[in-house]
Every structure is written in C-alpha cells, then in structure tokens.
C-alpha cells in the first residue's frame, strides 16, 4: 500500500512537472523573438530536469527497496 502511495506521488509530480515545462517551452517558441537564445535555454532546462528527475527516481527506488 505504502509502495503504491510513493509511486503515485512520484507520477503526479512527474506529470505536473512535464505539463508545466511544456507550457513554458511552448511560450518560449511561440512568442519568443530570438529563437536561438530560446532554443539554448530550453535545452539546458530539459537536460537539468532529466538529470534531477533521474535522481528523484533513484531516491524512489531506494524508498521502495527499504519498504519491501
């Protein structure tokens, strides 16, 4: 039960984060003036986000291993 709670929490965070990020990146490309700057900043943000989300996933794995 507690495992499911952790997984659902992680998935909710992941979905909210991805939706928020898509909204921001959409605005940058739709209304931005200097597309080169927008592209570079978006790539940096995506790379940073992926690394942190992987770190969060490994933390989740540790929690799940300890609860089993």
């Amino acid at each position: 039960m507690s495992n499911q709670l952790f997984i659902i929490t992680y998935l909710l965070i992941l979905i909210a984060y991805i939706v928020g990020s898509i909204v921001m990146i959409y605005h940058i490309f739709a209304f931005g003036i200097n597309t080169k700057v927008g592209f570079v900043s978006s790539i940096a943000y995506i790379v940073g986000s992926v690394l942190l989300l992987i770190l969060l996933y490994t933390n989740l794995q540790t929690i799940l291993d300890l609860t089993n």
Binding site: S21, M24, N59
Partner: protein
C-alpha cells in the same frame, strides 16, 4: 548582452511585410540576476542542511527516513530549477521592440495572458526618460516613455531598460529615418506605378462612371 539585441535573424510574431526588426530592448539584466541570487542562496542553505542534519539528528540515522529526506531535498531542488526557468521565461518574453515601421511593447503578464501595445514609429513625438533610485542610477537603467502624435495619441512604456538615454536617441533616430522615407515616398510618388489591385479598382470606377 541579453537585454539589448539587434540583428536580422530576429523574428517578431505578427511581423508585417517589409518590416525589419531594428532593435529589441529588455528589462535590465539586474531583474534577472536578483531572483537567481535568491534561488542560489536557497539552494546553498538547502545543501548545507542536507549535509549537516543527517549527522546531528538521531531520527535521520534511520535509512528509510534518510531516503525520504533525500527525496524531499531532490524535490525542492527540482522546484528551484522550475522557478529559475519560470523567471527566465518571463524575462525573455517581455520585450520592447523597435522596427522600421512600429514601436511595440510586449508584456507577458502570466502564461496565456499577454498584452501587446504598438504605435507607428513615424508618429513618435516626444520621449521622456525617468531614472529614479539608487540601483537605477548606479547600474544605469530606467524607464522610457514614448508619446505618439496623431489621431490615436498614446504613451508606450519601456520599463527598466538599460542605458535609457542611449535608447531614447536610438528610437528618435529610427523615427526620423522613417519620416524621411515617408516624405521621400510622397515626393517620388508615381501614379502610373500602382499595384494591380488598385488598377482594377480604378478600371471598375471608370466603367461605372462611363
């Protein structure tokens, strides 16, 4: 610099035909750096706490609690990254644009909430510069208020842009150039060189008259 860019590669949403973006002003970089410094301080405090607390609090010796603690710390770091990018997005989307035809202010109030004001650059009549406060004077940024003449009189605000006096000169120069071009076009106007649409309209009028 990020806060003042020029070049032909710039694309303006809703750009007119034969319109060329001359210069784009943004708020001073001070307004981007300040929130980033606050984010950085928050991040440092968080990392210091993450390093100190597990050694000093007995509850945090338990591996399960430690893993939950790490999870929360990572989550806060993700939130800081998100707010940093959000700050950047707002900074990037607020822009004050001068083209060879128009002056535009784009204010991104919120996501899906955007205010765009524009005026014909040839109608620019008066420009006022306001530099107020300690940071404005030391870091050289301020407000530029552009008043236009003509039937639709309006005031456009370029808030907290860097080097406002230089910006004022640049805008006045582009306005003067635009007026010269329009005057030249008016003097060299050749009625025989009209576009095909207006010719066909003239023909229709002639046939109706006859």
């Amino acid at each position: 610099m990020l806060d003042r860019i020029t070049g032909k590669h710039l694309h303006l949403p809703g750009q007119h035909k034969d319109e060329e973006v001359k210069i784009v002003f943004r708020r001073s970089i001070f307004f981007l750096i300040m929130p980033y410094i606050l984010n950085l301080i928050l991040l440092i405090i968080l990392l210091v706490l993450a390093a100190i607390l597990p050694n000093n609090i007995t509850i945090l010796q338990d591996p399960f609690i430690v893993s939950i603690f790490d999870f929360i710390i990572t989550l806060i770091i993700i939130f800081i990254l998100y707010t940093a990018f959000l700050t950047w997005t707002h900074y990037y989307l607020d822009a004050y644009i001068v083209t060879n035809q128009r002056v535009l202010t784009i204010d991104q109030i919120d996501f899906f909430n955007r205010k765009v004001s524009e005026a014909d650059i040839g109608n620019v009549q008066d420009i006022e510069v306001v530099v107020k406060g300690f940071f404005s004077n030391t870091l050289n940024f301020g407000d530029v208020r552009i008043q236009t003449a003509g039937a639709d009189q309006r005031i456009l605000f370029f808030d907290n842009i860097p080097y406002p006096y230089k910006a004022k000169d640049i805008i006045l120069k582009f306005a003067e150039d635009n007026r010269k071009v329009e005057l030249h076009n008016a003097y060299t106007y050749d009625p025989t060189k009209t576009d095909p649409n207006s010719k066909s309209q003239d023909n229709n009028n002639n046939t109706q008259n006859s």
